[in-house]
């Protein structure tokens, strides 16, 4: 990926702490609401799912599609964001 969004950079700039799920790149208000209703209200919960799927992009995107009807760009953004965050802080 040549350039990343501001949201992406903001997210990977610091530990995620207690950030809500909407702080993740690729997750906007709508997706955030859907994720919250599925129980994924914090970014770290999504991170947990990401880790459970062993950072596998295919599976993670599949999961996002199932859970919140994310399109492939949104899920890819989210996956990239979490992956970069993990490289930085995990």
């Amino acid at each position: 990926m040549s350039s990343t969004s501001q949201k992406h950079r903001n997210f990977i700039a610091e530990p995620m702490g207690d950030k809500p799920v909407t702080e993740l790149a690729g997750v906007g208000e709508v997706l955030g609401k859907r994720l919250s209703s599925a129980g994924f209200d914090k970014a770290y919960v999504v991170l947990g799912q990401f880790l459970i799927l062993k950072k596998n992009q295919e599976l993670f995107q599949e999961w996002m599609k199932d859970t919140c009807q994310a399109n492939s760009k949104q899920s890819a953004d989210c996956w990239q964001c979490l992956k970069d965050w993990c490289e930085e802080f995990l």
Binding site: P15, G17, I52, L53, K54, L59, E62, W63, T67
Partner: protein, 693 residues
């Protein structure tokens, strides 16, 4: 077909493992995804599943019917067109990798192939054609073929068993990767081989039963049918294929195949060499042409060098009486005079050359030129020409006195020059481009080159050493200056700390010196001390130098005029309490520590030299509670860097340091990434003990 949705977590997991899928935890949230994945895998498997089972059955039993083999072959072809429709036969490696469903299937096939293969080879050790390539089917055909006519095949030497066995088990692995795609081609191989030996009915039928052959394979079969050597083609093909996938196997196979045949080993290489020549014809020609060109240039150049022929008279106009402008010896000559001058020059040329040669190569004291006098003597001695006047006339003709056309340069412009001695007015001839033998030429060139190099190196060395010396000098000056300043500072410190509100605040200078300088350095640093004293005398307004009688002796003393030690409190380097709460759960501390490295701001001030004090303060503050590997006070960035054994230790240090007052400044701590830390301090210890205390 299993109902994926009703499987338990464990079953789902084991199913996935069966398909060679990486093991992942099956939880409430991942279950759906994984089930989907499994369904996809199952679907893919169904496409090729029958085919697989068929092939397994086929491999496991030796005595199978022809019809079974045929139908399995059909299945193979169907599979080839269904599951992997894209790849052409020559690119099968990529297809194997790209299909995600392949691995588990492949594994099964592989194991069975290997075992049956071993069996087969043990059974038919003498079977020459069972060379353990990927041609399972070939092997099979031959086995059946052997049964029909066992005598015709048992020609092979039995000693070939071990290598063929080894290569067989090797090749079987590579082979099983590509079984399905190879199938079509194999049939053509079979055919080629059949032709060269006793063709069996079954195999002929086989050929007819291959409607799925691609154009490519058809072409191949034509190739193998060509009268040249069908077996060779077949072999060559396999070699090529194997080279794509694994050279070692193919070579092993090749050697084991070829050796018993007693074929010349260059059989494969000869056409290769020819093709290299053929393919690279143009580059070779270009190379040759370039080579010839350079040779011609060299020859021409040498020819030019040696060509010193003179062509004179044509260039020199004759004096015409009708032309009033022409003057003899200035811009024209009389007829006949040019010729004699040329003769003289021809005579002188070798002598001039000889002299130049001697001067250049043997003895530089010998003059390379000939003066007027020399020429006259030379002519008289060697040619016994008595007419001095005549020679001189000829000679004069050649001279460059007027700078007009009749000097000798116009006769042979690149050959000689006329040299004029300014003071003595002696005119001389000099060979400008004498012919020099190679040895001498090389020697002189080398010599001049070496001398040039030496002088150049000498100059460079000189510049470098000057630069180095200058740098060293500057460094020493800087160091001395720093030391001086530090002495001055400590003098001021001492005077300040000893000053009291109502005392007379005097200190004997020598006593101060003895307090600052250790005994063994006093002599060495006498000069430095004098400078520091002078510095204080000139630049420090709060200190006055006085003379005072101390215990009966007149001593130089310093009197402190500044206030009493009110500055002292701010200089007190110590912890002065906490500014805000940093314990666990506080908003000021992170819930966990991301790295084991810390960067502490606010402890080091500009120009601080007491780094050990700061380090001690940091360590005393937190080394009791946590394990610290590395601690550095960086005066450039005014930070203290701390590396702990574990991130949890760093958290302890963080809570102990962050938000404290130190020497009047608020200390702030931040986490630093480990990579950054290692970049900054590459030699910091990675693990302990020892831990700093």
């Amino acid at each position: 077909m299993v109902d994926v949705d009703n499987l338990t977590d464990a079953e789902l997991r084991s199913k996935l493992i069966e398909f060679g899928f990486p093991v992942m935890p099956i939880t409430g949230t991942t279950r759906k995804t994984m089930a989907k994945k499994l369904k996809m895998l199952l679907e893919n498997k169904n496409k090729i599943g029958k085919d697989n089972r068929r092939s397994l059955g086929r491999y496991s039993s030796e005595d199978e019917s022809d019809s079974d083999a045929k139908s399995s072959k059909k299945d193979k072809f169907r599979r080839q067109t269904m599951a992997a429709p894209l790849p052409p036969p020559s690119r099968r490696k990529t297809t194997v990798e790209s299909s995600p469903v392949e691995p588990p299937v492949r594994k099964e096939v592989k194991t069975t192939t290997t075992t049956t293969r071993t069996m087969k080879i043990l059974q038919s050790a003498q079977d020459e054609f069972d060379t353990g390539s990927e041609s399972d089917e070939v092997a099979e055909k031959y086995r059946s073929f052997r049964k029909e006519s066992p005598e015709s095949v048992k020609k092979a030497s039995p000693s070939r068993l071990p290598p063929s066995f080894a290569s067989a088990s090797n090749a079987a692995e590579a082979a099983s990767d590509r079984i399905s795609q190879i199938r079509s081609r194999l049939s053509t191989y079979n055919y080629g081989l059949d032709r060269s030996y006793s063709p069996s009915e079954e195999l002929l039928k086989d050929k007819e039963n291959t409607p799925f052959l691609s154009n490519f394979t058809k072409r191949l079969s034509q190739l193998s049918e060509s009268p040249k050597s069908p077996i060779y083609d077949y072999k060559n093909d396999i070699i090529k294929e194997n080279d794509v996938n694994g050279g070692a196997t193919s070579r092993a196979y090749l050697s084991s195949y070829r050796a018993p045949r007693g074929r010349p080993s260059s059989y494969d290489h000869k056409p290769l060499n020819e093709s290299i020549l053929k393919n690279n014809f143009v580059p070779f020609m270009v190379l040759v042409v370039a080579f010839l060109f350079f040779i011609i240039v060299a020859v021409v150049y040498l020819g030019i060098r040696s060509d010193t022929a003179l062509e004179v008279s044509a260039t020199i106009p004759h004096c015409l009486k009708s032309n009033s402008n022409s003057k003899r010896f200035v811009n024209c000559i009389l007829e006949g005079e040019g010729k004699s001058a040329l003769n003289l020059f021809e005579v002188l040329k070798p002598e001039l050359n000889r002299r130049a040669l001697i001067n250049k190569c043997e003895d530089y004291k010998v003059k390379p030129y000939m003066t007027e006098q020399d020429i006259v003597t030379f002519m008289i001695e060697n040619f016994a020409i008595k007419e001095e006047g005549r020679i001189l006339t000829d000679f004069v003709l050649q001279l460059n006195e007027d700078g007009v056309a009749f000097d000798e340069n116009s006769i042979a412009s690149d050959m000689n020059e006329v040299k004029e001695g300014r003071k003595s007015k002696v005119t001389a001839l000099l060979s400008r481009n004498p012919y020099i033998p190679w040895k001498c030429y090389c020697y002189t060139t080398l010599w001049s080159f070496l001398s040039m190099l030496t002088s150049f190196l000498g100059a460079a060395l000189l510049v470098y050493s000057l630069n180095y010396a200058f740098k060293c000098y500057k460094q020493i000056r800087q160091k001395q200056h720093e030391e001086e300043i530090s002495i001055v500072e400590s003098i001021i410190d001492i005077l300040q700390t000893n000053a009291t509100e109502n005392g007379d605040n005097c200190m004997i200078i020598n006593h101060v010196r003895d307090m600052i300088l250790p005994i063994n350095e006093r002599k060495n640093k006498q000069k430095l001390w004098m400078r520091a004293v002078r510095y204080i005398h000139e630049n420090e307004s709060r200190i006055r130098t006085e003379e005072k009688v101390v215990q009966g002796e007149v001593e130089q003393v310093w009197r402190w005029l500044g206030g009493a030690n009110n500055l002292n409190t701010s200089k007190n380097k110590s912890w002065q309490g906490q500014a805000f709460e940093t314990q666990v759960g506080s908003v000021n501390s992170l819930p966990y520590s991301p790295t084991p490295c810390l960067k502490i701001r606010g402890m080091v001030e500009d120009g601080d030299r007491n780094t050990h004090v700061i380090k001690k303060a940091v360590l005393s503050k937190c080394a009791q509670q946590c394990r610290i590997l590395h601690c550095v006070v960086d005066t450039n960035s005014n930070c203290v860097y701390l590396k702990c054994a574990e991130p949890s230790d760093a958290a302890v240090a963080y809570r102990n340091l962050h938000g404290w007052w130190y020497a009047g400044n608020l200390v702030t701590v931040k986490y630093v990434r480990l990579e950054r830390y290692m970049q900054r301090f590459p030699d910091s210890p990675v693990s302990g003990p020892p831990f700093l205390q």
